[in-house]
């Protein structure tokens, strides 16, 4: 139990600090997020930053050297993130590709074949997305319907994916498809990666309630994928997908604003009936609860990294991150609006404090509670995979996929 650095860690931390100080702007009370730009601008900014990270040796800290990584223990990843968190750096572009897709490629692909893709992903040259969810299969991922039919050395893909983050700016994507509808649902899947500019792919952004368009629908009409881009055996797509998802809970789920710091700042600058909001005991109790949750998640992640660095497999206990932080985000946002009282009804930049972070948080947090495993699915995962409790009673287990009942939605 030691939260201080070993000499190696200290040296690495110094290296990271020097890199960040030279290449990025530090966060401040006044500026805790990058100023907004359009999507293209943001992607360009992220690309430039990824390139810098790569050139300085921080793009693949824990990956094997054979894939261009530094083969360091996950603790060094923690150190990098601890330091980077004080700087304004572009987020939301590479996390899925480098956190989920490429690790799956490295694990299930032929090393020589996938190496060029891995390299172009680390340098930031190519961006990846993940295509699992479908309109009729969200929580029930294995219920997906997008068909892949083999034709010689190629597969023909038809169907629709949804909730694909970043599809509109990605170069490659991974996809799970149904290659055999005549066997029970988990057994008839196959997993591929493909060029997002392949003929037959149409990408439609989804208008979210936050007024953003981070997610997409992706339509496939006779899209051809070479069999060489299959990962895992035919029919083994579910197992490959699990690799991707296992990495998801480590990659995603970092807290997003509004978090403790934001509400703490608000309440020190807002007056309630009897003085500064921060002096109100309800406010203080809530602040304490959120702080404890935030710190608890941070140290839980550190514990996971320690386990990883000892060669243990990251457990599903990392699922608690998103479960807690998504609800915390929603609570903080709604609480802040209540403190603003009548004024909270206005989301106008001229009225809403702190660039409207609470107003936006109220509209973003519902997606956080759903995307990447809903609250309910995460509780199922925790109870089944961590606590070892029985799975839900399955009516769909031994039934051929095409015979499963489906609803109107």
């Amino acid at each position: 139990m030691d939260f201080s650095d070993t000499p190696d860690e200290a040296a690495f931390r110094a290296e990271v600090r020097a890199f960040l100080a030279a290449n990025a702007e530090q966060k401040s009370v006044e500026k805790s997020a990058l100023s907004p730009v359009d999507v293209d601008g943001h992607v360009a900014r992220a690309k430039a930053w990824q390139r810098k990270k790569h050139d300085a040796g921080f793009a693949a800290i824990t990956w094997p050297e054979s894939f261009g990584g530094r083969a360091l223990s996950p603790i060094f990843d923690v150190i990098y993130k601890q330091e980077e968190e004080h700087y304004l750096v572009p987020a939301g572009v590479y996390e899925i590709g480098l956190g989920m897709c490429i690790p799956t490629l490295m694990k299930h692909g032929d090393a020589q074949f996938v190496k060029p893709y891995v390299e172009r992903a680390i340098t930031g040259e190519e961006i990846w997305c993940q295509m699992f969810s479908e309109p009729a299969s969200g929580s029930d991922l294995a219920g997906l319907r997008t068909r892949a039919v083999r034709e010689g050395d190629e597969w023909i893909i038809n169907g629709q994916k949804i909730w694909t983050s970043g599809a509109h700016f990605c170069d490659y994507g991974v996809i799970v498809t149904r290659s055999d509808p005549d066997v029970p649902k988990h057994m008839g899947l196959s997993y591929f990666f493909l060029d997002m500019r392949s003929p037959g792919i149409e990408i439609r952004p989804i208008h979210q309630i936050s007024n953003e368009r981070n997610f997409n629908e992706v339509y496939f009409t006779d899209v051809r994928v070479p069999d060489s881009q299959r990962l895992g055996d035919v029919g083994q797509g579910w197992q490959v997908a699990l690799t991707t998802l296992m990495n998801e809970r480590l990659a995603v789920g970092g807290p997003r604003p509004p978090d403790f710091e934001d509400i703490f700042r608000l309440v020190r600058n807002l007056d309630l009936e009897d003085g500064p909001a921060v002096d109100d005991s309800v406010v203080r109790e809530k602040l304490a609860d959120w702080y404890v949750q935030q710190q608890g998640l941070k140290y839980t992640q550190f514990r996971t990294m320690t386990a990883l660095s000892r060669g243990q497999t990251p457990g599903p206990e990392a699922s608690i991150g998103k479960l807690v932080s998504a609800q915390k985000m929603q609570e903080i946002a709604l609480f802040a609006l209540d403190l603003l009282d009548e004024s909270g009804a206005s989301a106008d930049p001229e009225v809403a404090p702190m660039d409207g972070v609470f107003h936006l948080g109220m509209m973003r947090s519902p997606a956080m509670r759903i995307a990447g495993g809903s609250d309910e699915i995460l509780r199922n995962i925790i109870s089944e995979r961590v606590l070892g409790m029985p799975g839900d009673i399955r009516v769909d287990k031994d039934v051929a996929f095409r015979d499963l009942p489906s609803g109107k939605r």
Binding site: S133, A136, S137, G138, S139, D140, G143, I162, W163, I206, H207, Q208, I209, N211, L270, D271, L272, E273, A277, V282, Q330, L334, L337, D338, L339, L340, D341, E342, S343, G344, A345, S346, A347, D348, P349, E350, V351, P353, M362, M363, P366, R369, I370, A371, S374, D375, E376, R379, N380, D392, R394, V395, D396, V399, L404, P405, S406, G407, K408, R409
Partner: protein, 369 residues
């Protein structure tokens, strides 16, 4: 004793529900949300024709004099349909303020027009972020002229007439200002719920007429109490609509080969929403009686109805999105309209935290009285 609506009131409810559904009130609210505000003059005119704008007002001023319980019935249906109309601003707040604090001349002058829909009223109290307190009111009347600013003022853009809470240097009062008067300027604000539009209003020497020049804070709380009960009915209407949407969706949406509504995670979530909604409903019913009967319990009943109403609508609208999964956070589904409205109704008369404090203060003084 009788803790339910009369047959006539049930008929009124059916009629209101049918009307709002035929007029697609929900779709109209969506259009306002898409457009970032607006005023649905057509729907407003029709509501006036149905007599809703004066449902509880005396016949002497053009009202239907049905009583406040009937107005509650209409409010619940407006909430259920998520209607985008300045009903609370004009009917619960402006008209009530004039009825209770105006002179006979002022009532004669304004109430018939508010009832007919010719004039839309609104109420201007808040000035800055954070809860409103008597000593923070800066808007000031001197020699019949008002200076200051109010923000946000709901429905200010649609309003012809504002009731303004302002000080004359000695005491707070309620003042009438016409929005077309010189010295009144309005700037539309982006709202969390753009189907409940608001504006910042600046007064620079605008001519006003007093409803009351003294005890304005007490008058403000009195009007708020009455409005809180009516708003609680909008909230339970909205909460019930969310619960039905969630229930229906959960039975049509399949996962793992069965409706998601067959999973206890969803069933128990919606049971909790039901419980919150019923608690809110029961508190609101008591409030409706107290309002209608002018009972001494009104201030306590109003605070209780508001606290329960805010809680139920907040929970129902939030968990309705959650039940809808990915679809729930798309703009095209209606879930977010109610989620926004829950916050709009929860802040419009001051947040639940303010009302919880008031509730306990009122119980304390009842206890020592």
């Amino acid at each position: 004793m009788n803790f339910d609506f009369s047959e006539e009131q049930d008929l009124l409810r059916e009629q209101a529900r049918r009307f709002l559904s035929e007029r697609n009130a929900l779709g109209r609210a969506r259009r306002q949300q898409d457009a970032g505000g607006g005023f649905d003059a057509e729907l407003w005119r029709e509501m006036a024709e149905l007599g809703w704008l004066g449902a509880a007002l005396p016949e002497a001023y053009g009202g239907a004099e049905l009583g406040y319980v009937d107005l509650c019935v209409i409010a619940e249906e407006l909430g259920r349909a998520n209607a985008a109309v300045p009903f609370a601003s004009s009917v619960y707040l402006a008209a009530e303020a004039i009825l209770r604090y105006g002179s006979e001349t002022q009532r004669q002058q304004w109430l018939p027009k508010l009832v007919s829909g010719e004039v839309v009223g609104a109420f201007a109290a808040a000035e800055q972020p954070g809860p409103l307190t008597a000593d923070r009111i800066r808007a000031r009347v001197a020699a019949g002229k008002l200076n200051g600013q109010k923000s946000p003022v709901l429905d200010a853009d649609a309003a012809d007439l504002l009731v303004v809470l302002a000080t004359n240097g000695q005491d707070l009062g309620l003042y009438l200002v016409e929005t077309t008067t010189n010295g009144v300027s309005r700037k539309s604000l982006g709202m969390q719920d753009d189907s409940r539009p608001g504006a910042a209003v600046v007064f620079e020497g605008a001519a006003v007429e007093a409803l009351t020049e003294s005890d304005g804070w007490a008058a403000y709380e009195d009007i708020q109490n009455r409005a809180a009960i009516l708003m609680a009915f909008e909230q339970i209407g909205g909460a019930a609509a969310c619960l039905e949407m969630a229930r229906d969706y959960s039975m049509e949406r399949y996962a793992f080969g069965r409706p998601i509504g067959s999973f206890q995670a969803i069933k128990h979530k919606l049971a909790d929403v039901y419980v919150a909604t019923e608690l809110a409903r029961s508190n609101a019913y008591f409030g409706a009686w107290a309002l209608n009967a002018g009972a001494a319990e009104l201030p306590v009943a109003a605070a209780a109805a508001r606290v329960a109403g805010c809680n139920a609508f907040d929970l129902a609208s939030k968990e309705n999105i959650q039940t809808h999964g990915g679809m729930g956070f798309t703009w095209d589904m209606d879930c977010h309209l109610y989620y926004r409205r829950a916050k709009a109704t929860g802040l419009a008369l001051g947040s639940a935290r303010v009302w919880k404090d008031r509730l306990i203060s009122r119980l304390e003084s009842r206890n020592t009285a």
